[in-house]
């Protein structure tokens, strides 16, 4: 582990920008969100979390797979500049377990995701505080960890300094060149931030969700909890672990491209079959699927939760559907 001043850290990022596109949180019109950085002094380090997760940089909302023109297929242009994403919170970095399992570990490998994943350096940052909507500790995530991603950092606002640690071999190589100050007070600093996370509630408390939901697949409460839901895609598009997509051809049949776009299980067309039959005819079934996919199916097949407790679906839902209430209803 190393310790550097803020100026040194900014200079370090500036140096990296020669090889990488630096993506970091900055203040926009709506709130704090990731963007490609041109002015390094504008990067924000002491926020709780960004408006949207970084998933769109590894899994773009709309991605061209290939183009075709008069019978000739050309591969989509690859982005040649590597990415360097700074300030990823521990909830968000854990969402990659879901992506990696589905897109890389299972055959066939999704080469489009893998390519972006392999060409991105991920810098995780210890979270300075929890919001009232944070519940990452439910999923055994330590908000103050710096052990995930390629590089982990902890920003101490009081001293304006960064503790920085290389985790992967690529990360270690990058951090290697930095000079350092004494880092023996790291644990002490980490301890100091712990009290800011008291709001972060463990909702699951080691309960076996697979067993619980197994017996509640047809529970009548499913008919109650979704009632205010209007069926928009806000929760799924904001969710760092939602990875569903739809593939379509755009353009004319002799001249166009094949594109994949984010899809949402909240939309009626998501499960509509060619015959016109829809096995999830109402919002109740659609909402149940979303909850079970996060807390039952993925847990059963992959032993990972499909939720990381970032709270974005709660903050952005126009009708205040609260996934924490739904967990509480069933366990």
């Amino acid at each position: 582990m190393k310790k550097v001043t803020k100026t040194e850290f900014i200079n370090f990022l500036k140096k990296q920008s020669e090889t990488f596109d630096i993506i970091a949180p900055i203040k926009g019109d709506k709130g704090i969100d990731y963007d490609i950085i041109t002015d390094f002094d504008k990067i924000i380090f002491d926020h709780v979390n960004t408006d949207r997760s970084f998933k769109r940089f590894l899994f773009p909302q709309s991605q061209t797979l290939f183009e075709f023109k008069e019978g000739v297929i050309t591969e989509a242009k690859k982005q040649n500049k590597k990415k360097f994403i700074v300030g990823i919170r521990n909830c968000d970095i854990n969402s990659l377990k879901v992506f990696d399992y589905n897109f890389i570990e299972k055959e066939p490998v999704d080469t489009f995701y893998k390519e972006l994943r392999d060409n991105t350096i991920l810098i995780t940052a210890a979270c300075p505080a929890s919001n009232s909507t944070c519940f990452c500790t439910s999923f055994k995530i330590d908000p103050l960890s710096i052990g995930h991603g390629d590089i982990g950092i902890l920003f101490d606002k009081e001293e304006d300094s960064f503790y920085i640690q290389g985790n992967s071999s690529a990360g270690k190589d990058i951090v290697d060149g930095l000079s350092t100050k004494d880092t023996s007070d790291f644990d002490q600093k980490k301890e100091k931030y712990k009290k800011n996370h008291e709001k972060n509630r463990d909702l699951i408390k080691d309960k076996n969700l697979v067993e619980i939901f197994q017996s509640k697949l047809e529970d009548e409460k499913w008919g109650e909890i979704f009632k205010g839901c209007i069926g928009c895609g806000v929760c799924t598009f904001y969710c760092p672990t939602c990875y569903c997509f739809d593939i379509e051809e755009q353009g004319k049949f002799w001249n166009g491209k094949r594109v994949r776009n984010w899809d949402s299980c909240m939309f009626p067309i998501y499960s509509k079959e060619t015959t016109g039959h829809n096995p999830r005819p109402t919002q109740k079934e659609r909402y149940r699927n979303r909850v079970l996919h996060k807390f039952y199916y993925q847990l059963k097949h992959n032993n990972e939760y499909g939720c990381v407790g970032c709270g974005r679906c709660i903050t952005n839902c126009p009708t205040n559907i609260d996934i924490r209430n739904i967990i509480k209803t069933f366990i």
Partner: protein, 312 residues
Amino acid sequence: MEVKIKERLSQLFDEQKINCAIIFEKGTMPDKNAPNIIYNKEGLNNLVWNSMNWNNLANYLPKLLGKKIGIVAKGCDSRSIVLLMQEEKVKREDLYIIGINCTGMIDMKKIAKDFGAEISETIFEKDSVKVKGKASEKEYKVKDFLLESCQVCKYPSPVIYDEVLGEQVKGFEGDNYQDITEFEKLSSEERREYFYKELSGCIRCYACRNSCPSCYCQECFVDSNQPKWLEKGQNIDDIFFYHIVRAYHMVGRCVDCGSCQNACPMDINILKLTKKLNKDVRELYKYECGLDPKNTPALSTFEPDDYNEFIK
């Protein structure tokens, strides 16, 4: 107000005049209330009435077709009810409307920005809200932080109701489409630039569509793939196309409740499109939608002696 609404709905459940009710419940967050449908009077326990109830409750009516419904309706909700009655999506005799003289809804996003810290509690007084955070506290006047649509609301009192609660409220008396008149003065390039910039943030979650009571189609044109009307991706022209067509489907059917804009998670100003069309309908057809159930919506009627040739 809350006590009165609870009392009345409870009686209505007892008298079996309604078998469900659309209400607002206290939300799980201090800056949000939750619209919900309840089926018995126990459901009334969490009922709340304050200035965060911006959702248009008429949105849930088409899904409850055939039930006896109690609904708490602000001015805009009641106008949507009129529209849904005109379009035969709900029957007047199935409804018991508790009208509320609305004093305007507050823009919590704007307040959150001004407050600067996480809001841990909101306490509503008659015309103000006290916002509490971890280390600070601030009081806001509701009328200084009204939602855009509420600032120029001409019909805060319900236009149709079985009973009405609250003191009579005076509607906005100026020109509610003043901003559109200003916007019309811009050149077409400037206007296009405005929309391209504004809509570039759209993530196509369709919260605007789904929070709109007038958008009740079983299958929306964006969800249709046979025929496919538009592409699904993030191309700005597709996004613009979606918003324009959505607005066109609203001609003479939009009640200016602002739900679409308030639901938008990306804070996009989408009211300009619908407001422009509302203004045109008012000027061309002397018609404002959702005021009288006996009227026929502007684009659903024609006169045999219409001056246009194509209609004959």
